[in-house]
């Protein structure tokens, strides 16, 4: 019994591959036909092959497990049916992302310098004063090209009517790009025939684009600047990615104690050949752990004096400390205004309509409609600390109402979007599962957007939580001809 698309029901959601009529979209017709022609055992072979590839390629993420006595590596669930987006739509999204990230970088640079946008009352000063991600230590710094968020991962979702919204921007240490690259490598192994029928835009140039992006901000203008990836270490959930990107770029993977700041306020790494100067640090350590001298004095993940070296312009940090001020979920609601203010353009990609709990009328609306809304704290990531109103119990909603009343600045709410779905292999049939998309945007002397990005899929039926730490999986993302 193979997959029969006419038995697939989209349940009123927008499905990325299948129309409400049960017919595949034009861009997906070849793959749907191909999959429907596979017998159960052939489908299972493909599935098994993908799992084997994941194991042998060592694609893992780390989770903390009390039972198993510490952290363990888990293979990240992968679904073999790709998500498909057409060239035309992608070009629009790409332009929208470039516009958005450009404006966000101008915004961050302004906040740490003239603060014109606050003086002009476009963004309330209070929001910045209260922000947990604003770093006063960064005032007056002008990083190269005015770029603070060199690597940005923005989460996109599609609503029932097909509109693509930006759900959030991740400007600190966004992760997931290695899975995007590995997903494609797996698909090439198991569906190589399909790559002959489709012209699928490649994703492989990301590591070299990342290298170029980082090399462009090197303080020393040398042919081969020393670029390192700074990881918190093997117990970090994204260690696989840190190690993967370092390998792909040919950069050294370092931990805090490998680096030291010299008397000359330059950064050196300890090698068997002696101390060796470092030009660019792609840091995957949070701001507050970067430098015990400037931030958390107990941090052993960071490098003492790193902020000093960075402020003097002797080393480049990507992303720059303090960039997270703009991925605050409350600041998020101002992004359309921020785009208009700096670029004098209308946003190409819309925000999800949002209610700010700090404004009384909006707060009252939120408190009265908790059963319809998703409430998010300003500074959490990974899907933690949020309330999905329609699915929560009355007691949970009451708890959240109290949280909001106590600290309104920390919360915003959005209507529960009917996230789009895509067919996902469940046993031997395809069922719709909700998904989102995280493209990555690189900025320094030029801007680059990944072709597609990481599609994350909620593997539990009806769930909209796609995070890897909470039962999410991923799919390959194909940008194809219309």
């Amino acid at each position: 019994m193979a997959i029969k698309w006419k038995n697939y029901t989209t349940d009123g959601f927008y499905d990325e591959l299948i129309l409400a009529s049960g017919r595949p979209r034009k861009s997906a017709s070849a793959i749907c036909k191909y999959i429907a022609a596979l017998k159960d055992d052939e489908l299972q072979n493909r599935k098994d092959a993908s799992e084997l590839a994941i194991r042998t390629m060592g694609i893992t993420f780390t989770v903390y497990s009390e039972e198993e006595g510490g952290t363990i590596d888990r293979a990240w669930p992968f679904d073999i049916i790709p998500r498909i987006i057409t060239n035309t739509e992608w070009d629009l999204i790409e332009n929208g992302l470039k516009q958005r990230v450009q404006a966000l970088n101008m915004f961050i640079n302004d906040l740490y310098n003239k603060q014109q946008i606050l003086k002009d009352n476009i963004v309330p000063r209070q929001l910045i004063d209260d922000s947990t991600n604003f770093r006063p230590q960064c005032m007056g710094i002008k990083p190269p090209y005015g770029v603070w968020a060199h690597i940005c991962g923005s989460d996109l979702v599609r609503d029932q009517d097909g509109t693509v919204y930006v759900l959030e921007d991740n400007l600190r240490v966004p992760s997931g790009v290695s899975y995007m690259l590995e997903n494609r490598a797996i698909m090439k192994r198991i569906f190589s025939e399909l790559f002959e029928d489709y012209s699928i835009r490649p994703v492989d140039e990301y590591p070299s684009k990342l290298y170029d992006c980082l090399a462009a901000i090197s303080p020393r203008k040398v042919n081969k600047p020393e670029i390192v990836v700074l990881t918190p270490g093997i117990y970090n959930s994204a260690y696989f990615e840190h190690s993967y990107l370092a390998q792909q770029m040919g950069a050294e993977l370092v931990e805090g104690p490998d680096l030291r700041v010299g008397d000359d306020d330059c950064v050196y790494m300890r090698t068997v050949e002696g101390l060796s100067k470092v030009d660019v640090i792609y840091r995957r350590v949070d701001d507050l752990f970067l430098d015990p001298e400037a931030f958390n004095p107990d941090s052993i993940l960071g490098v003492k004096g790193l902020m000093r070296a960075w402020k003097k312009g002797n080393v480049a940090l990507a992303n720059a400390p303090g960039a997270g001020v703009a991925d605050d979920k409350v600041i998020y609601t101002y992004v359309p205004k921020i785009i208009k203010y700096y670029l004098d353009e209308d946003p190409i990609l819309p925000n999800v309509p949002s209610y700010l709990c700090i404004n009384k009328t909006e707060r009252d609306y939120v408190l009265n409609n908790l059963d319809k809304l998703v409430v998010k704290p300003a500074n959490e990531s990974g899907g933690y600390g949020m309330l999905i109103g329609p699915k929560a119990s009355a007691k949970e909603r009451e708890q959240f109402a109290n949280l909001i009343r106590r600290n309104p600045r920390n919360y915003m709410a959005q209507p529960l979007l009917a996230l789009s779905t895509a067919p996902t292999l469940v046993d031997h049939s395809a069922e719709p599962r909700h998904l989102d998309l995280r493209p990555f945007i690189l900025s320094s002397n030029e801007t680059y957007v990944t072709t597609g990005g990481l599609t994350r899929v909620a593997l539990r039926k009806g769930s909209t939580v796609v995070n890897s730490s909470q039962g999410g999986g991923s799919k390959d993302t194909w940008i194809v001809e219309d």
Binding site: G58, G233, I234, Y235, S243, A246, Q247, E252, L253, V254, E255, G256, P257, D258, R260, V261, G262, D263, D264, C266, Y268, M269, R270, T271, V272, E273, G274, L275, K277, E293, I300, K304, G305
Partner: protein
């Protein structure tokens, strides 16, 4: 290559080698006891002395007997040099350099640790012990071979070889020391056949018996065995051979002057000393000093390559200031950096 990575490769190799050596000495002692008459009460004390853990042992066990000693050497986590602890330390060092060594190398180290942990209860009985220890020795040899055949022979591989050979040299010297001083105190006239057996056991614990017979071709006797195990340059567990291997690896590394100088002292001393008629006391003193020299060599390697905290950057202009001295202070080691030397445990 990062100093941290080099250091962890070095320690991983040392711990793997230490596990193998521990397995070897237990195995051979078990066999030796079967051959000796009841009135020769050599027992298990020498193994405690070889591994330099006498004090620690006495704190935890009231008497020296087979059961206690074997348990302490194989399974006791309070003994930092126990087999299980060595393998755990090898694994923890290996875990952090999984992207530097070939994947199979890490998997083999991990497997060996898990095997050992699971087999501990069975390993304590004399009946199963031989197979268990044989498996350890085979697996560590397998790890060495696998890394030789799959790891890039760059600096990292040099550190691997340095770690392995230093540990091996260290253990060979310990075995000679203890076997000649403690285990064979009375080369008593009334037990001549057993003197031979005892020296044979020394050779066997180093897998050297067959090689010795081929190369030396005389009967097994003290002077020849000492010369062979200390001075031979061909046999892979002979002290001199191990040290020369370290020399070869060091020569591939940059900035090796300090360690090489120390190493040459050791080679000259071993090669020019007359062991034939050296008294027990003199031999003991000599090997004591040799161990000291090995510890110095480790220190020279460590300060040159692993902990270059306070060295002036090559291009820096200013001199050291208070601030950097402080900032150069060693950070708390991460949970996984497992490194200590049993060489200083005497």
């Amino acid at each position: 290559m990062l100093s941290r990575v080099a250091e962890r490769i070095y320690w991983m190799a040392r711990y793997v080698e230490r596990a193998e050596n521990t397995a070897r000495i237990i195995n051979v002692n078990t066999n030796l006891l079967l051959d000796l008459p009841k009135k020769v009460t050599l027992g298990w004390q020498p193994l405690i002395d070889i591994t330099g853990i006498k004090k620690l042992y006495n704190e935890h066990y009231p008497e020296v007997n087979e059961r206690n000693v074997v348990k302490f050497l194989i399974a006791d986590t309070r003994n930092f040099g126990s087999l299980i602890n060595s393998l755990n330390a090898a694994r923890e060092n290996g875990r952090t350099i999984r992207d530097v060594i070939p994947r199979e190398g890490w998997e083999k180290v991990n497997d060996l640790y898990l095997y050992t942990k699971n087999q501990l209860p069975q390993a304590l009985s004399r009946r199963n012990r031989y197979d268990f220890l044989g498996h350890i020795i085979n697996s560590t040899q397998g790890i060495t071979g696998l890394l030789a055949g799959t790891m890039t022979h760059n600096f990292g591989y040099d550190f691997l070889r340095i770690g392995r050979n230093l540990e091996r040299a260290d253990m060979t010297s310990r075995i000679i020391d203890v076997r000649s001083a403690n285990l064979l105190p009375e080369e008593s006239e009334d037990l001549p056949p057993y003197e031979t057996i005892q020296w044979m056991s020394v050779l066997q614990s180093l897998s050297a018996y067959q090689n010795y017979r081929q190369q030396v071709q005389t009967r097994v006797q003290r002077g020849e065995v000492l010369k062979y195990l200390l001075q031979d340059i061909y046999f892979p567990r002979a002290f001199n051979h191990c040290i020369r291997e370290v020399q070869g690896s060091l020569k591939n590394l940059p900035r090796h002057m300090g360690p090489i100088r120390q190493l040459n002292l050791i080679i000259r001393s071993v090669e020019t000393t007359q062991f034939d008629n050296m008294s027990k006391k003199a031999l003991h003193r000599y090997i004591d000093n040799l161990q000291l020299q090995l510890a110095k060599l480790h220190k020279a390697i460590s300060t040159t390559y692993f902990s270059i905290q306070d060295e002036k950057p090559t291009k820096a202009k200013k001199k050291k200031s208070k601030v950097t001295k402080k900032s150069g202070g060693k950070a708390k080691p991460s949970a996984s950096a497992v490194s200590h030397s049993a060489g200083s445990a005497n």
